[in-house]
Point group: C2
Chain length 285, copies 2
């Protein structure tokens, strides 16, 4: 396994890799969710590149950029074990040299939900992913559905700007009690860790209510919000939206997505799930 820290070395390394290349961009502090992306990349590609880069431009002032959890030795061991070909771990100065000035915006999508609460966040995400896509030049890149809005934004951008990397979405990996895996879960106190399962329960309740015949977006949204509030979470949003435009849906016809964001003390968690009516089938998709 090669560990590469500069753009020039990554450019040189990519031409020696067997194709297709599968790319898994991460901010490090890897968990089973990341590992599942690496496995999926292995199943579909001849080489796997993992990037580890805590991207400063997607953190807002006052957010947790400085204290975002980092453990590079452990990450490298995990990658080695998962037979990763190249770990690309550039410094911020390598990605953002002093005169850096160019940013990618995905209008509309970037301003909703997480974007409304974290203005500028998705500009940072879209910019770094565009740049990483160009540096790695993989055929495919693997993203978890956990960050669902990010996934839609990256997919839109890759298509719009002809970045020539297919964006592959992969199911969220969960703890046994249903909590979505996230590097930020380490921030949770023991009590809050217990309460955090309310997110998954709210998503399940909405799906169950939909199967029971309730197709009103606002009713399902209220169900989720009530459950979160009862469990002691401060809700930022509990929305039922169109799966690609992310616009709120008044009535669920074919498929929708439930999006949640809530705070537990100092920790902010997001989660999401598909909402599929009884008549839904994979072939309709």
């Amino acid at each position: 396994m090669q560990v590469i820290e500069t753009l020039d070395h990554m450019r040189a390394a990519r031409s020696a890799l067997r194709r297709p290349i599968g790319f898994v961009p991460t901010m490090g502090y890897l968990h089973d969710g990341h590992v599942s992306l690496i496995h999926r990349a292995h199943a579909e590609c001849a080489s796997v590149v993992v990037s580890i880069f805590v991207n400063p431009t997607q953190f807002l002032p006052g957010e947790d950029y400085e204290r975002y959890p980092r453990d590079t030795p452990r990450d490298l061991a995990l990658c080695e074990k998962a037979a990763v070909s190249v770990v690309f771990a550039p410094t911020p100065a390598e990605v953002y040299p002093p005169d850096f000035a160019s940013y990618v915006e995905v209008t509309g999508l970037q301003d909703r939900w997480e974007g409304a609460i974290r203005p500028g966040h998705f500009r940072g995400v879209a910019t770094v992913v565009a740049k990483l896509f160009r540096i790695v030049q993989a055929e495919r890149a693997y993203f978890g559905e956990k960050d669902y809005q990010q996934l839609q934004i990256v997919r839109r951008m890759a298509l719009d700007l002809c970045l020539d990397t297919d964006v592959i979405s992969c199911p969220t990996i969960r703890e046994p009690d249903g909590l979505a895996m996230s590097s930020r879960n380490v921030y949770l106190s023991a009590d809050d860790r217990q309460r955090a399962v309310a997110l998954f329960r709210a998503l399940s309740a909405a799906q169950s209510q939909l199967l029971g015949g309730e197709t009103s977006g606002s009713s399902l949204s209220s169900t989720m919000k009530d459950l979160l509030v009862k469990a002691g979470l401060d809700v930022d949003y509990a929305a039922v939206v169109h799966p690609s435009s992310l616009e709120p849906l008044e009535r669920i016809g074919r498929e929708a997505r439930a999006l949640l964001a809530a705070r537990l003390g100092p920790v902010r968690l997001i989660d999401n799930a598909p909402l599929r009516p009884a008549t839904w089938s994979e072939t309709q998709k």
Copy 2:
């Protein structure tokens, strides 16, 4: 010569072209300035691709997008004569499909001078150039210095986002009396065409004054502005700036750039030139 109208055909065509590819992006209505870019591309590359695309996103509401001069048959004849390999002439719907939402911004540079007067213009330019670079995948792209701020923005963007196309700047081509060639010159009335030479005279006067020992940016700027006003032009700006950051320069040390924008009735013209002190030499650059 192939004439290609879709992204998919362009992708297929590019892999059959001999490399390196030289790319000349244009909005059509080609003049000798464009032809000089094609010749330069031929001198340095094995194949030449010219794009002809009047890019709607770089025109502001109320600007001349609809009436921008177009003459595709003449453009194609010129390209054929100049031994162009491929003319890529996509429709707006091909470049901007209905769900298109991604834009490239070059902060700082995009807000000065032309950007201050035409807000959003450079976002449109940066976006379409980024996309064209990815579709054509040329080793080099050729831009005239006539649109000097555009050139700096495109160069910055190509570096920042690792677009892998080198941006080559080429001298402005001028009419015998010094007027910079531009597709928009056809808008000028006979009288205004006479007056328009004031732009070149102002640039020359500033260079001459600098050689005479005047190194104050604001003095040179006033000289240019006065000349333009006397010739009957409405001046948008007459600036002396740093050649890459485009920030106003109070004192010219090594090299500066003079930037002009002025209106003649309904027609807006821009021009620019290097300002080089007597001590300047090419090797210092």
